[in-house]
Symmetry: C2
Subunit: 599 residues, 2 copies
């Protein structure tokens, strides 16, 4: 028996036992098929939640609570299993009472180390794709025929006025657009509210040299992948155009030039009242579900620095930075040393401004090429595609690693990164730059998941810092702002025509405070972070991102966001949760997260 | 040795012999590896032409003339061969001096029955796709950086004014758009000239119930296939939106609201002067190559009927028909009984008009579902996709059958069709409808290739004809038009508020006459048709469609068009021919077609 046959047989036997026990009178005994410290990560399929169960006891509890009504079964390998370094990996499919799912299993010595289960479609409400695609033409003749265009125009005319959407999404960036596309395919009437005039403007409005920092294979939108000639790192305006056309061909009800004034939830009727101004006219939308897709980054953090009001130059948050062209020859101070700070400093330098970056705390830096080569390439690259890796499989592979043990996977990779680019890092240190690789050396992605900040994917600015072309003041901050200068905490003074606050963003629930109420924001609590008890990610351990893509403590309020990869992948699970509620399916949430931090 | 191994071995041996002889001192001896009446269809790879060589002698002549400079070699199977009913089929790759190609081979008793060779890319000018895709971001910092948007805007500003395009395409429907996309990927500066204001308007402007009559799998555009939820038969406005977004995301230089006044060729300078009015301003474009993509159907045929001028109702050609809504309760006469006539009659009936169809000659009718099931399904269907059939492979399979023997493949299929739908056809005959299956019973596609007319893909109108809901006058025509009626050749009179001339289109070279000159139109001769000596396709036998996608008797003048399938597939070969000329490659045309018919 060769290794693959053996691996497949092991996986098949495990699944058979798992299936048998889950359908027995004591399904919770299936927990014994896991390692003592094994993991079961479930995306909606068992828990109607995003939940990682850690250890047999937690798994046993979850099964006990869910299996009787979820009724998981028909566990099948979807392809031959593989084995490497004593770990058997297998792809699988399964069903529950209401849904079909896909999953991934890692076995060690015949016991499950990790199990991922994901809901993929609701049995009674499958998407109309491939064999189920609509016919389009209504063959035959009919005197009451309505054309596609007439139906679409009628919907645009009525939805939000004489017909209420089931769901309103505030925010029409890539997150809101991708989710709305999924809801459209699931026949969930949805309106996206966006204050910019054209889809894609959230990208177009940013500084002109911006390109995606993640590569194309990682960035596909749902349903409509970028074509083969799409740039590896797409320029912002090209992404803007793509989102604009995507919104149109996916037939989204996208209310542009529309501002959301506020929303309140009527607990009695289970309905939101969302007040918007559309093209100058007030409209009240009454959806059953409200999704905030206002950017995972939340509301800009603008520091309160003595003397700000006295400044005679220009000052703005990085998110409002109009691009570098206007600052040729000017003295520019950028407070912060993460992604936006680096991008803005480099663009200012390119436009012959005099630029100083003020670094208050260490930053993780990784060269873009190294990130591709060492970190993303296995799942998201042209090589991966050539080896048969699909976007779906890459996403599920990524999702299959529980957050608790993800650092173990990343730490050795970043040790290699540090070694490979040792010269580069040394030159940055020599320039005075404070570097880190995260509290535990686990690098970029863990930092992103834990705090959504603290890093720069280097596409060229670091070289300018190392060479002193971008001037650096590190281990300091701005103590006071004067009419034409800033005074640093080390007592030195920098002349300034422009101050950019590249000081990051608050938690997404700041949007709930602004749009709904502080009470609701507090009830929901902090978004993002996993409770890793590392810098800016306080515990206790949650094991999943707080409040993202899953039920919150506020009925019918959801948060959606993240990078293009996350928006693509998690929008599926959020869309299925919304569809199930629209159809009145029973959706008992297992293990609703508790609130430990207000923001 | 099982059948596949045996087939593969046969194909490999044949290719090895072929390769050896082609690179010997007497390459034309390779013709002896073909059956006496074997076929070699070449799309650009050997001949810089679209050419089918029929029989050993023709093949020998072609090889003798081309092999020494084309230098074909490195013939390889690209996957295991298959065998069915004594025919071995194999997919292959090869190279020439300047290009890489793909091909398809059918062997019978060890000799080639059919060989298809197609050019796929120029070695020195490959498209920048997949591993060659652009990086997008220019990593590193530079004080002379130009963003993607700036470069794109500069191009839009300069091309056609301070910079001349290499190629101008007249006509921005799906044909012009698809070709322009290919030329963009090949870095051939191109402008598409289109009189409508928005890409897709050529579809939007047609009658409102129009849907594609071909199914989605057959209709993909190059590079950007329709997503999985796209309707089987897409409504016209949805296709319009798709073309609009396609034009934008493929970054085409699309001059909408631009009218072409005329073009003349300067033989001395090898340059066209194309006079256009763009947004009201005259502009002279000076491209090296001119492509007419004005619709394969050419200029509308409007019959000259006594009394036309006296008609007090409305009369127009089917291509100008605005839709049925305005004719509720009106008496409508539609002259013609092909696709447009049926669609327009059905829409008029749906709008409670009183409709009479006048059928002058027999029409081939095939039910849309039967067409899918019996004819297209093997290559273009969800089942085919599920079985691993790609669009490219389907197109090449289709292309692998020489036109001379294509009827043999189709006749038995249409015999099954006639049998399967016998009741349907009988009811049509009972209603007086004149039916045919083409002169030789080879059905729809042969009729399309031979004459581009004479058929209706039934999506419902035939039932209305059979039931008498659409009134039918067959074996007659309009003899005279009166102020409020028409008099038929059988002497009967029909009251009429509307007359629609669904009387088809002239040859595409009518556009050359209108845009360039009658001399050039005559020099080029009739477009379309293969010289099959069947109705409306006079001989002599040409073996390829006249003038389409290949060199014409007029230097630097090209015709592009056809249905979505043809536009997609043949735009590749036309684009490669244009690119090779732009780069100054040697492109000796073998067997330039002669002109036998002026229109």
């Amino acid at each position: 028996m060769n290794s693959q046959t053996n691996a497949t047989e092991q996986a098949r036997q495990w699944l058979a036992s798992f299936d048998e026990i889950l359908t027995s009178g004591e399904p919770e005994r299936a927990a014994d098929l896991f390692e003592q410290n094994g993991y079961w990560r479930d995306l909606v399929a068992m828990t109607w939640n995003l939940k990682t169960l850690e250890g047999r006891q937690a798994i046993r509890h979850m099964i006990h609570q869910t299996a009787p009504h979820i009724q998981p079964g028909n566990w099948q390998l979807s392809e031959p299993a593989t084995e490497q370094d004593g770990v058997v990996e297998a792809w699988l499919t399964f069903e529950t009472r209401d849904a079909r799912g896909k999953g991934h299993l890692r076995l060690r010595d015949g016991q499950a180390w990790t199990l991922l289960t994901t809901m993929q479609e609701l049995k009674d409400f499958p998407e109309k794709r491939k064999f189920r695609r609509p016919k389009g033409a209504q063959h035959g003749a009919s005197k009451t025929r309505q054309t596609w265009l007439e139906a679409r125009q009628q919907e645009e005319r009525e939805l939000g006025y004489s017909q209420q959407p089931y769901c309103v999404i505030i925010g029409g960036g890539q997150g809101g657009i991708g989710l709305a596309a999924r809801l459209r395919q699931l026949d969930v009437p949805t309106i996206v509210v966006e204050r910019n005039p054209t889809p894609g403007d959230s990208w177009r409005n940013r500084y002109k040299s911006l390109c995606l920092h993640d590569p194309v294979w990682y960035d596909h939108m749902p349903y409509l992948p970028f074509p083969d000639h799409w740039p590896v790192f797409a320029p912002k305006d090209k992404i803007g155009d793509w989102l604009e056309m995507y919104t149109k061909v996916m037939e989204l009800n996208y209310w542009s030039s529309t501002e959301c004034l506020g929303a309140r939830y009527d607990e009695q009727n289970g309905e939101w009242a969302v007040e918007v101004i559309r093209d100058g006219q007030p409209v009240t939308l009454r959806p059953k579900q409200l999704v905030l897709a206002t950017g995972m980054s939340g509301i800009p953090n603008i520091p309160d620095i003595p003397g700000m009001d006295s400044f005679e130059g220009e000052q703005h948050h990085s998110s409002r930075h109009p691009g570098a062209e206007a600052y040729r020859g000017k003295k520019c101070v950028v407070l912060g040393a993460n992604n936006s700070a680096h991008d803005i400093c480099a663009a200012l330098w390119e436009n012959d401004a005099d630029v100083t970056m003020i670094q208050r705390s260490p930053t993780h830096i990784i060269k873009s090429d190294t990130l591709m080569e060492r970190v993303l390439g296995g799942l998201y690259s042209e090589e991966a595609v050539a080896n048969g890796m699909t976007t779906e499989k890459a996403d599920l592979t990524f999702a299959s690693i529980p957050f608790r043990i993800m650092p173990e996977f990343h730490i050795p990779v970043y040790q290699q990164v540090a070694e490979q680019d040792a010269d580069f890092y040394q030159r940055l240190r020599d320039a005075g730059f404070m570097l880190d690789f995260g509290d535990d050396g686990s690098g970029l992605f863990m930092k992103y998941l834990r705090r959504g900040s603290g890093y720069y994917i280097d596409v060229g600015a670091s070289e300018l810092v190392a060479q002193g072309e971008i001037k650096l003041k590190s281990r300091t901050s701005i103590a006071r702002i004067n009419p034409r200068s800033v005074t640093l905490t080390d007592g030195s003074e920098l002349p300034a025509d422009l101050i950019v606050y590249a000081t990051g963003f608050g938690s997404m629930n700041g949007w709930a405070a602004r749009i709904i109420s502080q009470d609701v924001a507090d009830k929901v609590g902090k978004c993002w972070g996993m409770g890793s008890d590392t810098t800016k990610d306080p515990g206790p351990w949650e094991g999943e991102l707080r409040n993202m893509w899953k039920p919150t403590q506020q009925d019918a309020l959801w948060f959606h966001g993240g990078n293009l990869h996350q928006s693509r992948h998690y929008s599926l699970y959020l869309a299925l949760q919304l569809k199930a509620r629209q159809e009145g399916l029973d959706t008992p949430v297992y293990g609703l997260q508790e609130v430990h931090h207000l923001a």
